[in-house]
């Protein structure tokens, strides 16, 4: 019997409450002290199609989902057909044979069938068929022998806004599902969830949060007061979170007529002195590109989120990919400095977004945070975020710091770092103008070739100090079954000791799947190093050179076909990475896929 390791999936048509039900189950597990990673899959439509919500639960930290399923809650045949091959030996299906009909020989003999009259039970409680979802949650709790009270607590919180009647009916539904299983089935299911008994772990409160929510929290903490955006999956939940909190956190959140207006409004707000952000996906980013250039020319600090989805064009609107890297790296005409941040999990989403606002203001540049649907919308349990944070607004000066000068304020003064004093409208001695046209130190339009050279160099030399300021890529190993993170502070001889079997290189959201794959590899005696990049631009090239030269074997893991990061590495270092694993079917990368590839590489 497996204790405290469970993979659960619920599937059915869109519009029937699959998402909320999945989240309730995730939360119920998280509140019991478990670690959860959940992923939601849905096609781009409002009603119909196949939605599913996969929840993986363990008693130690998990970083990715897996493809396997211990319990499948199926509201239709499609759910069973699509996922039955992933059900583990001795796994289960919860269904209602009055609604979902299949021949027993279609299902493997080892799979336990929990046939529950969901619709009948539901009708005994309410007219709303949707409550069948909650009945399956109660049934699940019974099968895995978990605590119904925790589920009731989550139901109460989630449905509180809908009123006591809805809460009570759902609690009753859960109870009925629970009782039905306890009464009609024996208690021999292979997997049980036991509440975490270790007091230290048990009392630890953890969050269950998505990448988009973590980015929103990071932005709010960093003092982002203006958020403008146009809805686009998978970035929209940032807009929803910011809008829901605009009054209690004193933000101005503006849904604009398009992404062009969104980025320009954010630029205007930043010019006026407010930390501002916009977020979109690749299609919206395409529209924002001219604004990126405007912010660059006017040296207006700005944070932009690109939550990627597969392109080109509409592509796969609700699926995942890392296909925009080179596009974002090279977006907009001309040469200018900008920063690309690629968080790998929800914690990095929070901490790096916070950092993005300081970097944007300190260097008066644009910071683009790149996630993807998988990171943006999957929930992961994590510790409460550390709220220690110091705002750095760089060379922003106001009031008496501004001295009256006969020739005016030099907004674009030439300095050693390329960063000049900046002030905001409304200041008496700070009057300046910022053209999108090339300009001199005061902001007067200029076509002078000498001025042009100096200005191009002024802007671009910011990269020198940005490179020094940003954190190094992290190196991860597995020791005693645990993930060990080595933070690099400088290039030293430690780096030369990378003599493991293979060095894995990746960026962004593939981090979780790689870490999980490494755990499996370690069990097989394979030692791997994992070099994960949170910053793609500027790139810590010096370190890469050293690692690529000393590593025994290297493999890049990317969720795009053309291995965009590998080609950037080649451009910067002149070196090839030996092997690659890429995936571009629109679905998340699974640990076993990376494991299989690495085994194949090492065996050949």
């Amino acid at each position: 019997m497996a204790i405290n390791k469970l993979a659960w999936k619920i599937g059915g048509k869109a519009g029937y409450g699959i998402m909320v039900t999945g989240l309730i189950f995730s939360k119920a597990c998280s509140r019991g002290g478990f670690h959860v990673f959940d992923t939601v899959e849905y096609p781009s439509l409002v009603r119909g199609g196949h939605n599913n919500y996969h929840v993986r639960v363990e008693d130690e930290e998990i970083h990715s989902n897996i493809e396997l399923i211990d319990i499948l809650v199926a509201f239709n045949n499609e759910t069973i057909d699509k996922h039955k091959s992933n059900i583990t030996v001795g796994g289960a299906i919860i269904f209602d044979s009055n609604e979902t009909k299949f021949e027993n020989n279609e299902i493997r003999g080892d799979i336990k069938l929990y046939d529950i009259p969901l619709l009948k039970i539901a009708k005994g409680i309410t007219e709303e068929k949707i409550i069948m979802n909650t009945i399956t949650l109660g049934a699940t709790i019974a099968i895995i022998d978990y605590d119904l009270n925790i589920l009731d607590g989550v139901i109460t919180d989630v449905f509180r806004k809908k009123g006591a009647e809805v809460v009570n009916k759902n609690i009753l539904a859960a109870k009925k599902g629970y009782d039905y299983v306890k009464k009609n089935y024996n208690h021999d299911f292979k997997t049980k969830l036991r509440q975490i008994s270790n007091n230290k772990e048990k009392n630890k409160k953890r969050m269950l949060i998505t990448g988009n929510e973590a980015i929103s929290l990071g932005a709010i903490k960093a003092g982002c007061k203006f958020y403008s955006a146009y809805p686009m999956t998978p970035a929209s939940s940032i807009l929803h979170y910011m809008a829901a909190n605009e009054k209690n956190m004193n933000l101005v959140v503006k849904q604009t007529e398009d992404e062009i207006a969104a980025i320009h409004a954010a630029i205007g707000a930043s010019f006026a002195g407010v930390r501002s952000m916009t977020a979109t996906s690749g299609g919206g980013f395409s529209l924002m590109v001219e604004g990126l250039g405007l912010a660059a020319m006017t040296e207006t600090p700005l944070v932009i989120v690109n939550a990627q989805r597969p392109g080109p064009s509409t592509g796969l609107a609700t699926r995942t990919e890392q296909g925009d890297l080179k596009f974002v790296l090279n977006a907009s005409q001309g040469e200018f400095p900008h920063i690309i941040i690629t968080p790998g999990d929800v914690d990095e989403c929070f901490y790096l977004t916070r950092e993005a606002f300081n970097l944007a203001e300190k260097f008066q540049v644009q910071v683009i945070i790149m996630t993807d649907k998988h990171l943006a919308e999957s929930h992961k349990t994590t510790e409460m975020f550390n709220v220690e944070y110091k705002i750095n607004r760089g060379m922003l000066i106001e009031g008496k710091q501004l001295k009256k000068r006969p020739d005016g304020f030099k907004r674009f003064e030439f300095t050693d770092t390329g960063v000049s004093n900046r002030t905001i409208p409304g200041q008496k001695n700070g009057i300046f103008r910022v053209p999108s046209y090339e300009h001199d130190e005061f902001g007067w339009m200029s076509e002078d070739p000498e001025v042009r050279i100096k200005m191009v160099e002024k802007r671009n030399k910011k990269m020198v100090n940005i490179l020094k300021e940003i954190s190094w890529p992290n190196i991860y190993n597995i020791e005693n079954g645990k993930i060990i993170k080595k933070e690099i502070k400088e290039i030293n001889s430690e780096i030369d000791k990378l003599k493991t079997d293979i060095t894995i290189i990746s960026w962004g959201s593939t981090k979780g799947a790689v870490l999980e794959a490494m755990k499996f590899l370690k069990i097989d005696g394979v030692y791997a190093d994992f070099l994960h990049f949170n910053y793609i631009n500027p790139l810590k090239t010096e370190l890469l050179l050293k690692i690529l030269k000393s590593a025994k074997k290297t493999i890049i893991v990317e969720q795009n076909m053309t291995l965009q990061f590998a080609s950037i590495i080649k451009e910067k270092t002149g070196l090839d990475i030996d092997h690659s694993f890429s995936k571009y079917n629109g679905r998340q990368m699974y640990p076993h896929e990376i494991y299989d590839k690495i085994k194949e590489v090492l065996n050949n």
């Binding site: 269950l208 409004a265 954010a266 205007g268 405007l294």
Partner: protein, 295 residues
């Protein structure tokens, strides 16, 4: 900001001159508009530091270089979104958005309509010369049908946009049209626009002496008349009457077409009622409560 009265009323139109010599063609309608704006600022007793000029691309993009206030030159068509961001960040500032007809009624048309329905308190001056001047003479959204330009050598096939009627139906709460050849009248329209609490459009007939040889000073002088002097006493509160006036094309009315009292967008944003966004303390924002909701 608006309360710093040190230099108030002392400023003359020439005090708003940056000393940069305009690079417009001799006789360009922009000179009249520039003069009217500087005079309006002086007459209103505004301080330089409380004003932001937001311009776009076209001959009119240079205004922010010639008026001594804060200035931001956006890109083609994006004046109004930038202005909206500035206004929502600091609604104490006086925002003057200035662009051309191509900028506002062509590439920026979407933003134009949405800015008006939001009724954000911005004064938008459109230097409408019915031609693309800076790109050396192509048809613009307000070029008359049949106009021969470099891009329409056989005559423009499209009907012109009517910005006045469009503004009235889109929710602008102050809609006026001036003429660059009548600086004093234009100045009054701009002053009333700035004083108006809400989105104000001042569309300006601006002769382009180099590329538009049809809509010249002479042509306008013969065609324009002032709404306020007209014997039928135009009622600026009457939307139907305003639309009717906007549709006139034999004679061309100038003056205020439509005016309406209405709460502005920013006045409805509770979060900035006490103080503008820029004045809010961001040094230690507490997010513990937000984090607890994720447990």
């Amino acid at each position: 900001m608006g309360k710093q009265k040190s230099s108030k009323k002392d400023l003359k139109p020439e005090d708003f001159n940056t000393g940069k010599k305009p690079v417009w063609c001799s006789g360009c309608g922009n000179f009249g508009i520039l003069m009217a704006i500087r005079q309006a600022f002086a007459d209103l007793g505004l301080n330089k530091e409380e004003i932001v000029i937001i311009s776009g691309i076209g001959c009119s993009d240079k205004y922010h270089q010639y008026i001594d206030t804060y200035g931001f030159e956006s890109i083609h068509g994006r004046i109004l979104p930038v202005a909206m961001g500035i206004k929502l960040a600091n609604h104490n500032l006086k925002l003057i958005a200035i662009g051309g007809d191509g900028d506002g009624y062509g590439i920026g048309m979407g933003h134009f309509v949405h800015a008006m329905r939001r009724n954000i308190n911005i004064t938008y001056i459109v230097c409408n010369n019915q031609i693309y001047g800076l790109t050396t003479g192509q048809a613009s959204p307000t070029s008359d049908k049949g106009l021969i330009t470099k891009s329409t050598p056989f005559g423009n096939l499209e009907e012109p946009v009517n910005p006045i009627s469009l503004a009235i139906v889109s929710g602008a709460t102050y809609v006026a049209r001036g003429f660059a050849g009548d600086v004093n009248h234009l100045k009054k329209l701009i002053i009333a626009g700035i004083k108006h609490n809400g989105f104000s459009l001042v569309d300006v007939f601006q002769p382009c002496v180099t590329f538009n040889h049809v809509n010249t000073y002479d042509w306008f002088n013969k065609k324009v008349y002032k709404l306020e002097n007209n014997k039928d006493k135009h009622d600026t509160k009457n939307k139907d009457a305003a639309l009717k006036k906007a549709m006139e094309n034999k004679k061309l009315p100038i003056g205020v077409f439509y005016k309406k009292k209405k709460i502005t967008y920013e006045e409805e944003v509770e979060q900035i009622k006490k103080k503008p966004l820029i004045k809010q303390d961001i040094s230690n924002i507490r997010i513990n409560k937000l984090m607890n909701e994720f447990i």
